[in-house]
Amino acid sequence: MSAVFFFLAAIGALAGAIGVVMLRNPFYSVLSLVFHLISLAALFLLLRAEFVAAAQVVVYAGAVMVLYVFVVAYVGGGEELPSGGGLRILGPLFALVLAIELCIAMLGSALKGISGKGAPYVPGFGSPRQIGTLFLTKYLFPFEVASLLLLVAAIGAVVLARRRRGLEPDEEFETALHKPVSRRVGSMAESVGARRDS
């Protein structure tokens, strides 16, 4: 039974990954990645990583992908031209060589455990309780550093994408600031509608 689920999820994950690379419209690529991530969460569940699977669906397929969809809608992902010249041939060739090498490295290795089903399952493995205990005891320092990293990334994104340009003066704003205006503009006499030209 688990073999059926494994093949369904694996085929879904691979199809989603191929869709990300092959589809021309970036919006469809993002949707394909969402499908890929959900299939991958199913694989995590088969590997008894319940908390990681839940975090994958909620954080990745939920929050991060919404960010992507917003940016694609903002930038307006048009159709792109196919990559020209050498990379178009060399890229897939390199990928093929890398795939063969990785498969040889993984399946041809002398690791005996790989052909087994892994360690016997103990109840509570991969549960939020165990992950939380590990994060707050053994891995406390990486946990805190991760929060700092998130803060730095958030500030960096705000600085990068803000409306006013970096150090260049905003010309429209400067000219509006120094435009000569009559002394009466903004005075009380103007607001009550007194018409006396001077």
Partner: protein, 99 residues
């Protein structure tokens, strides 16, 4: 299922992501392909965690997800900045630093 199958799936996803980074020109899609590669590493880590019956690998996977989220925010910020400056959204034409 044997753990080796999961590793093969992870390797294939990584390779697909690498091919995408090399062949696509839209920086948005390149970021998506980077996500694919990070997720392949995640799958391998979780598979090895299952192999050893030790949850440390899952902690690694969660930290990788944090790093990926940071990478996405900064990358998307860069793309929005490029769009605001009316630069082409194409990595082949952004070659000012190319000497």
């Amino acid at each position: 299922m044997a753990i080796g199958w999961y590793l093969v799936v992870s390797a294939l996803i990584f390779v697909i992501g690498a091919a995408g980074v090399l062949t696509r020109r839209n920086p948005l899609v390149i970021l998506l392909c980077l996500e694919l590669m990070l997720n392949a590493a995640n799958l391998a880590l979780v598979a090895f965690a299952r192999l050893h019956g030790n949850a440390d690998g899952q902690i690694f996977a969660l930290i990788i997800m944090v790093v990926a989220a940071c990478e996405v925010t900064v990358g998307l910020g860069l793309i929005v900045a490029m769009y605001r400056r009316k630069l082409p959204i194409d990595v082949d034409e952004l070659n000012e630093l190319n000497g």
